[in-house]
């Protein structure tokens, strides 16, 4: 086997480095997909009804994040994505709270009606705090 001379190695290495530097650069992870998924989860949880302001903020910030990413302003995109995700999380938490409150009110009325229908002498105690 015959070894290639060193003067041939060097230009090849430089060419490889130049080709690598001139290729398309992959953008850093900005959490856009995660922010989008959380927004969808909030909508699925009924956030459009229970937390419409937070949903709108999440949508606006997700759009801003995508726009910033399109411009290559990745740091800004990351921040908007994080803020969108925080709004989606808040919207989902408020939806959970709103649903629970509605169920508590409905069940309280139902128990009171049941006691009244049964003559009010059932053994169950009064509803707790």
């Amino acid at each position: 086997m015959t070894l290639m001379p060193a003067k041939i190695y060097r230009p090849v290495a430089v060419l490889c480095v130049l080709l690598a530097a001139c290729g398309p650069t992959k953008p850093p992870p900005m959490g856009l997909e995660d922010a989008s998924a959380r927004l969808q989860a909030a909508r699925d949880a009924g956030a459009s009804t229970y937390a419409p302001l937070e949903v709108r903020s999440a949508e606006e910030r997700l759009s801003a994040a995508r726009a910033a990413a399109g411009k290559g302003d990745y740091d800004v995109a990351i921040q908007f994505a994080q803020e969108s995700r925080a709004n989606s999380d808040l919207a989902q938490a408020k939806s959970r709270l709103g649903k629970a409150r509605e169920k508590v009110e409905a069940r309280t009325r139902e128990n009171a009606q049941l006691r009244e229908d049964l003559g009010g002498n059932a053994d169950a105690g009064a509803p707790g705090p």
């Binding site: 925080a86 938490a93 707790g128």
Partner: protein
């Protein structure tokens, strides 16, 4: 020149101080909010993960500045809100669980009450059925008793009817016997009158005191009064006592051994007096006559039969010898 530089530095320091002060205020506000949440007796024990995230977000404000700070403050405020909302949601969900248990307890209590009512109703029905059965048994026993009483009454009625028939046959026989006796006495009296002799069959004048018997049939049944047809024949007795007008007349009344001794004696006394009165009315001297009731004494027949008792119920007219 130095003055301008000095003023610029002073302005820069003031702005930095103001920003730092603002940052401290935001941090303090969020930190206080988190502390309130942690101190809440109910919510403080809930949503620990969300509170930890919020705590980290607030803590990140300390070393932040510039645009990054505004971003971190935005995140921190939402993380604190998320911690509150999550804790409240968990609290509501726990209340809902409690209400669900209450709901089940109400239904269970209602079910138990219904079961108890059903049991009481069944017991009531059982008692009513028992009472109805007892009432039916009582009515049946009463019906049996009434039927038995009816049968007894029918038997008694039949016995009474038979006894009445027997009594009627006996009375007829006695009446027939009395009629025959009267007819016989009348024939004897007529024969004696025709022959001019005084010796009726029923009044024999011997050494023993002469006696003439007036039978029970001459009286009304159970009474001391003479029957009308017997009064018509009292002339035979008058003839008997007047045959020997010097002798005193003793009228003896007798009865059977039926009722009490006092009643029997009283009836025999009254019958003797009735005969005495009839003789006096017919012209016999009253001072010759004595009437006495001897009751059940000196029976002429056994008292075991009706015929024997009829014979014992009599009045005897005795011509005493002295």
């Amino acid at each position: 020149m130095k003055l301008r530089i000095g003023l610029f530095l002073l302005f820069t320091a003031a702005c930095s101080f103001a920003i730092a002060a603002k940052a401290d205020l935001d941090y303090a506000r969020l930190r206080a909010s988190l502390n309130d949440l942690a101190a809440d007796p109910v919510l403080g024990q809930l949503a620990p993960a969300e509170r930890a995230l919020a705590d980290q977000s607030v803590q990140a404000l300390i070393d932040s500045s510039g645009k990054e700070r505004a971003h971190l403050l935005y995140l921190a405020e939402r993380r604190v809100d998320i911690a509150y909302a999550t804790a409240q949601a968990i609290d509501q969900e726990r209340r809902l669980d409690k209400l669900d248990r209450e709901h089940d307890q109400i239904l269970l209590a209602a079910s138990r009450r219904d079961a108890e009512q059903a049991r009481l109703e069944a017991e009531k029905q059982r008692i009513q059925s028992l009472a109805q059965a007892e009432e039916a048994e009582r009515l049946r026993a009463e019906a049996d008793a009434a039927r038995a009483q009816g049968e007894q009454n029918a038997q008694d009625a039949e016995n009474a009817r038979r006894e009445a028939a027997q009594t009627k046959r006996l009375a007829d026989a006695q009446a027939k016997e009395a009629a025959l006796s009267r007819k016989e006495a009348q024939l004897l009296a007529e024969a004696a009158a025709a022959d001019g002799r005084a010796a009726p069959a029923a009044a024999r004048d011997t050494t023993a005191p002469a006696r003439m018997t007036i039978e029970d049939a001459a009286f009304s049944p159970g009474l001391p009064t003479l029957r009308a047809d017997a009064r018509a024949n009292i002339a035979r007795v008058v003839a008997f006592v007047n045959k020997q007008p010097s002798k005193p007349v003793r009228i003896e009344g007798y009865s059977d051994k039926g009722g009490s001794t006092a009643d029997s004696r009283a009836l025999s006394q009254k019958r003797a007096e009735a005969v005495r009165d009839a003789l006096i009315a017919a012209g016999v001297e009253a001072r010759r006559i004595t009437a006495v009731g001897l009751g059940e004494a000196q029976p002429v027949a056994a008292n075991t039969s009706e015929a024997g008792r009829a014979k014992n119920r009599r009045v005897e007219v005795v011509l005493e010898n002295r």
